[in-house]
């Protein structure tokens, strides 16, 4: 359980996180979404106490992270930026972190096997590929058998097999009753694993909703209709909250009515229907829609800087 209240962080004059309030609940996978530079990594650093909030507060399992006696047992974290000394072997890296909590060597070896780094455990971590580094990060996160798992862009650099493994792992961790908080800038990834979404843009909360609701709430739920009597149908469907657009291929795009309602109207009037397809906005489209303003803002900033 992670609870943020009015969390705000300024770096100099730049506000990275702006009055964020949210709760991440146990037992489900919560996706943390936002375009690059929207404040996801900063929020995670604030949760871990690596950075201090300018205002507001964030607690993990009811306490500030630093006040826990066995912090690795509370939160296991994979941060986006590398947090490994390249001259140290994967095994020694994990061992050093395990020893702070008196976690036995056998646990270190177990995790090395779990993430598939057995053959390279004694190699210097600096020689690791991006994917291997990511696996080491995941082993680090799971070291203390944490009740909350927080991963920043965990599928970065993983091969398809690794991505599949990661999805299973996240679902399983949530199934065990853990709090799972996963950031990503890719909606498609979240669509497959997340139950709940927290979406931010420019450091501000944009949405805090279940995935299903997010897709529906993003509007643009239209029904595609094809009928040889399109003109007649169009007149019949017309209403105050209904818009009907004729598409180039002769089909109609109807918003404001469900497929059932359209089918009933057509049936009542004996009109023939050749196609009736509800078209749900994809998560990606919904995300783009919601964060467009922020992405544009970022682009303008970049242009201004050039």
């Amino acid at each position: 359980m992670i609870e943020a209240v009015e969390l705000t962080k300024d770096y100099g004059s730049k506000r990275a996180v702006d009055g964020l309030s949210f709760t991440v609940r146990p037992g489900i996978v919560t996706g943390f979404l936002g375009p690059n530079g929207s404040g996801k990594s900063t929020t995670m650093r604030l949760i871990l106490g690596l950075d201090r909030p300018t205002r507001g507060d964030v607690t993990v399992n009811g306490k500030h992270y630093r006040d826990h006696r066995a912090p690795l047992h509370e939160v296991g974290a994979l941060l986006e930026a590398r947090s490994v000394h390249p001259g140290r072997s994967a095994r020694n890296h994990l061992l050093a972190l395990a020893q702070t909590h008196g976690i036995p060597r056998s646990r270190v070896d177990e995790l090395i096997d779990l993430v598939g780094l057995h053959d390279v455990a004694k190699k210097r971590a600096g020689k690791f590929s991006l994917g291997m580094g990511q696996r080491l990060g995941i082993a680090t996160a799971l070291l203390g058998d944490p009740s909350t798992v927080m991963l920043d862009e965990p599928v970065n650099g993983l091969d398809p097999e690794g991505i599949h493994w990661m999805r299973n792992l996240l679902t399983r961790l949530a199934g065990e009753g853990r709090t799972v908080f996963v950031s990503s800038h890719l909606m498609s990834e979240m669509a497959l694993v997340a139950d709940h979404l927290i979406v931010i843009g420019r450091g501000r909360l944009i949405a805090d909703v279940p995935v299903d609701e997010f897709i529906q709430g993003a509007g643009r739920n239209v029904v595609r209709v094809r009928s040889p009597q399109a003109t007649q149908l169009r007149d019949l469907l017309a209403g105050p909250d209904v818009t009907v657009t004729a598409l180039d291929d002769g089909a109609l795009e109807v918003s404001g009515l469900t497929a059932e309602q359209i089918g009933d109207v057509a049936g009542d009037h004996g009109l023939r229907i050749h196609e009736l397809t509800p078209q749900q906005a994809s998560l990606e489209e919904a995300f783009m829609e919601l964060t467009r303003a922020d992405v544009e803002y970022q682009a303008e900033l970049q242009e201004a800087a050039l």
Partner: protein, 273 residues
């Protein structure tokens, strides 16, 4: 990665304790190459230089003037290496902290131990013990080896039981340990390898000779109180008006170390990582 994604349970979870953090720091320091190389260099310099100086002095003894002979104190030959071996020790001390920042390891360290001061105390403790444990046998061996070489010249023969000799030789090891602590604090303050080493070099190698530009009365008034000469008093057998006695010198340098550590500690707790 294996298809089976069962996460093994952890039988018991221990709390973070200062001792556990120290064990972790020991694992960190022994598992990087820079430690081995720096300490190896320090031991070789601490022992090698006295052997070299002893050999040269011994072979040229016959041709030295009485004045030159009186300048060559055998205990100074024995501790000559310390002047050089302080450099690898200081570099390693700075690196022990700054490498955590440059590699990002510090984020993992502070996530495991969010009460950050425990990490600082553990680093200082482990580094001091390690340095002293290597430096003490090194200076004693250097003393024994240099004495063995100059043994045929009665004027150069001294014993650890002679007044001040044991204190001076052991002082060499204490000096190296204190230098390490001071350099470590500098590293924690600037969090940057090049910066930490530069400041150390400035304090110990650059500023002292520059003071010779000052009027000598000023120089004599200021010099004894600077970190480098205060620290050096720890392993000097004799002292003149331009330096502090070993006791006060050691105390003053310990004070410098404490002040640097205090600044490092305050910054460590306050700063973002």
């Amino acid at each position: 990665m294996s298809a089976a994604t069962a996460l093994p349970k952890l039988a018991a979870t221990g709390r973070v304790t200062q001792l556990r953090v120290a064990i972790s720091e020991w694992t960190k320091i022994r598992s990087v190459r820079s430690t081995r190389w720096s300490l190896f260099a320090a031991v070789v310099l601490t022992i090698g230089l006295p052997i070299l100086f002893a050999a040269v002095t011994s072979s040229h003894w016959g041709s030295l003037s009485p004045r030159e002979r009186s300048d060559r104190h055998p205990v100074e030959i024995a501790t000559a290496g310390v002047n050089l071996s302080q450099l690898p020790i200081a570099v390693l001390a700075v690196l022990t902290i700054t490498a955590e920042y440059s590699t990002g390891m510090i984020r993992a360290s502070f996530t495991a131990v969010p009460k950050r001061l425990a990490v600082l105390w553990a680093k200082i403790g482990v580094f001091s013990l390690l340095t002293f444990a290597l430096a003490l046998p090194s200076v004693l061996f250097a003393f024994w080896a240099s004495q063995t070489i100059v043994h045929k010249h009665a004027e150069l023969r001294i014993s650890l039981s002679d007044p001040g000799v044991a204190r001076t030789v052991i002082g060499g090891a204490v000096y190296l340990m204190l230098i390490g602590i001071f350099a470590m604090a500098l590293g924690a303050i600037v969090r940057n390898t090049a910066g930490g080493i530069s400041i150390f070099a400035a304090i110990f190698f650059v500023i002292p000779p520059l003071l010779n530009i000052l009027p000598s009365s000023w120089n004599q008034a200021i010099s004894p109180w600077l970190p480098d000469s205060a620290a050096r008093a720890v392993f000097q057998l004799t002292h003149d008006s331009g330096s502090l006695a070993p006791g006060p010198g050691a105390l003053l340098f310990v004070g410098y170390c404490a002040a640097a550590i205090a600044v490092a500690a305050v910054l460590l707790v306050r700063r973002d990582t």
